[in-house]
């Protein structure tokens, strides 16, 4: 009897195992018509790519679609993707890109609306913050889905500010004065000299740290006739302030990019900085941070906040797996999965859905998480978006080059900005002034509708 019972149990167990395996496969095949396909994703490397790895197994199991993740250094993403687009290689099925490049990319991307409709996929777009929705459309067509909501914000050491009776800076003059005061001495008594502030100053992306200041001083990219405004009084004031701040930054700050700046803040070397929203999560992660529980979140000084729009995925026209790619995109950006991704400090991806800012889970993630999320929303309300016209990458690179010359003292501030403006005019002429003007006026209009960047 005993033996018989054991036999029955074993047979039942074996039968259920076989059934569950086949059943699972049958379910996968049933659920996705693309089972067996491989989606190749070109993605900004770790920590961004961590967002993909978080759900890779789950996605592959659920849909039977394989993911081939190719990490590309952020500085090379634009040229790498453009090279593949132009060569029509079809090497990638999903490309991760910055909204500023959408005008250049749109020619090579599949509009997502019809594709989502064809496969009956709901991206819950009403839940995406309007500013990010604006930044992933071009000429009225929706080309990309955000998976990161990048906006700058002010981080400051609440404990140190309280200790010395300092208030979070409201203007960049305040910012400079606080940096002066806290520079060059051991204000946290850890036996090391600390510095006044830090910034992203390395060639490539430093323009964002200038543009926020520039907008705060009342600047905008162009006038309505496409004349550059970068070298106006607002530009000069902004750059002078940034150059002056360099004196109060740690040695080697001219080579700081995202990671060095993040490290300088979370390791307690500087009392304040302007950084992307992901740094707020890193500052509360004991694995990385020495300042857990000590960060205050503020509005960007000057009254305008630089919004780069984060990173987003598009599907190249040359992709041979568009169905599988959009399925993957929908899976990663649905409200539930995306919340897990943007909450994880290891991803450096930021909230972009309305539901992210209000998720009780996120607001409980650490004692001041609610303040952090509210501060992001407040910064978004006073946002100043990236330039989104054809050749935006070239305009920004020309500006970036001149900014670096001014930082290094190779050119006076005004001369650097004049040269940037000259270069912008040359790019406009080369790309076709009327076409550029039309694109710029369309961006102005979109900004006006959203009530930002005017």
């Amino acid at each position: 009897m005993h033996k018989k019972l054991r036999k029955v149990i074993m047979l039942t167990a074996a039968f259920s195992m076989v059934m569950s395996t086949y059943g699972g496969l049958a379910m996968a095949a049933e659920k996705s018509p693309f089972a067996g396909e491989t989606v190749t994703i070109m993605v900004h490397p770790v920590p961004h790519a961590t967002g993909i790895y978080m759900f890779k197994d789950k996605f592959e199991k659920k849909y039977g679609i394989k993911l081939n993740v190719i990490e590309v250094p952020p500085e090379s993403l634009y040229e790498k993707a453009m090279t593949e687009f132009v060569a029509e290689s079809g090497a990638y099925d999903l490309v991760d890109f910055n909204p500023a490049w959408i005008a250049d990319y749109s020619r090579f991307l599949e509009p997502l609306g019809p594709l989502a409709k064809r496969y009956n996929l709901d991206f819950k777009l009403d839940d995406v913050m309007p500013i990010f929705r604006m930044m992933n459309s071009w000429a009225g067509k929706w080309y990309a889905m955000p998976w990161d909501g990048d906006t700058h914000m002010l981080y400051y050491r609440k404990d140190i500010f309280d200790k010395f009776g300092l208030k979070p800076p409201k203007t960049f003059e305040d910012f400079l004065n606080i940096a002066k005061f806290l520079n060059g001495w051991d204000w946290d008594n850890d036996g090391e000299i600390e510095y006044g502030c830090a910034s992203y100053l390395k060639r490539g992306r430093t323009y964002w740290w200038f543009l926020g200041r520039f907008a705060g001083y009342g600047g905008n990219y162009f006038d309505k006739d496409m004349n550059p405004l970068i070298n106006t009084e607002a530009g000069v004031k902004a750059l002078k302030n940034l150059v002056e701040c360099i004196k109060y930054m740690p040695p080697g700050a001219l080579n700081y990019s995202y990671m060095e700046l993040r490290t300088a803040y979370v390791k307690g070397d500087v009392p304040m900085c302007i950084q992307w929203t992901c740094v707020g999560k890193a500052a509360e992660d004991p694995n990385e941070s020495k300042i857990v529980g000590k960060t205050g979140y503020g509005l960007y000084p000057g009254g305008k906040t630089m919004i780069a729009g984060g990173w987003q995925f598009g599907i190249p026209k040359t992709s041979k797996h568009k169905g599988a790619a959009i399925q993957c995109l929908q899976f990663y950006t649905n409200p539930e999965n995306s919340l897990q991704i943007v909450m994880n400090p290891a991803t450096s991806l930021d909230p972009y859905r309305k539901s992210h800012y209000r998720a009780p889970e996120f607001r409980r993630a650490w004692p001041t998480a609610g303040e952090y999320l509210d501060a992001i929303e407040a910064n978004l309300r006073q946002g100043f978006p990236d330039l989104e016209i054809p050749g935006a990458a070239e305009y920004m690179d020309a500006l970036d080059y001149e900014l670096c010359l001014a930082y290094a003292g190779e050119k006076p501030v005004k001369k650097a900005l004049d040269d940037a403006a000259k270069k912008w005019n040359e790019i406009t002429r080369r790309m076709g002034k009327e076409k550029q003007k039309e694109a710029w006026l369309a961006q102005l209009e979109a900004m006006k509708i959203l009530g930002i960047g005017e």
Binding site: E75, Y78, E79, M82, T83, V86, D104, R107, L201, K202, R203, G204, P250, P251, G252, A253, L254, N255, Y256, P390, G391, A393, E394, D397, Y401, C404, L405, A406, Y407, A408, G409, E410, K411, D419, R430, M431, G432
Partner: protein, 291 residues
Amino acid sequence: MRVKLLARYSYILPVIIILLAITIFPLIYSLTLSFHSCDLRLGGNWIFNGLSNYKEALFGDARVWSSLKNTFFIGIPAILLEFLIGLGLALLLNRGIIGKKIITSLLILPVMMPPIVAGLIWRILYHEKYGAINGVLRSLGMNAQFAWLSDPKLARLAVILTDVWEWTPLMMMILLAGLQSISIESYESAKMDGASPLQIFGYITLPLLKLPIMVAILIRLIDSIKLFDIIFVLTRGGPGGKTETISYYTYLIGFRYFRMGYAAALSYLLLIITIILSILFIRVMTRKEAY
């Protein structure tokens, strides 16, 4: 006779076809491209614009001149240092020291390393706070806070040192091969005539080493004009534009702005500069030989 001739040509035909396909065709293609405006972001149409790209490069683009200046300010000191250190090491190794084989193998390790890897290693070494270089200086009692890659006064030096570390072994190997080909009789007769070691070096070693020196410096000169990978990893042309070389700038024009016509023109200008410098250098070196 004619059949024989045809047969002979047919033997070399595959080589000619391959050569045309992989060398001559790209050369002609890029030369033609350099006379056109071709922006891949705008559809990649070729629009003939004559010498406009060359005119822009020579008279309208200040970054071409500043990047050329940087190329020489980095390249010339690097080659000089590589030559002097390489020659010193070659002379040392030519004397038959103990552990010569092991030392030689260790010394040539950097040259076997891909420049990107070398750049990454040095980027870590140069770090202001955590880098080994400042660490060593601090352990020697110096208050070393050198921002090697971001201080405008140090960045070029940092690139030069990395280049010297990577390429001195090449110089050393070529010169060592040259030294070993000099016959022992020349030295023996000089010694018998009472020549001092310095005289032997000045009147025998150096003149007989002229050809290897010329080859080694020429290889490095051409390489230096093309300096790209170390810059890409270490500084991306910064701080400011202090280390932006002409090759790096050409790369930006081609693969960041996708202005393929202008990038082709810049490449041809670079080729012309390289040829002129090489001819001048060979002339100077061979003129001395006439003495």
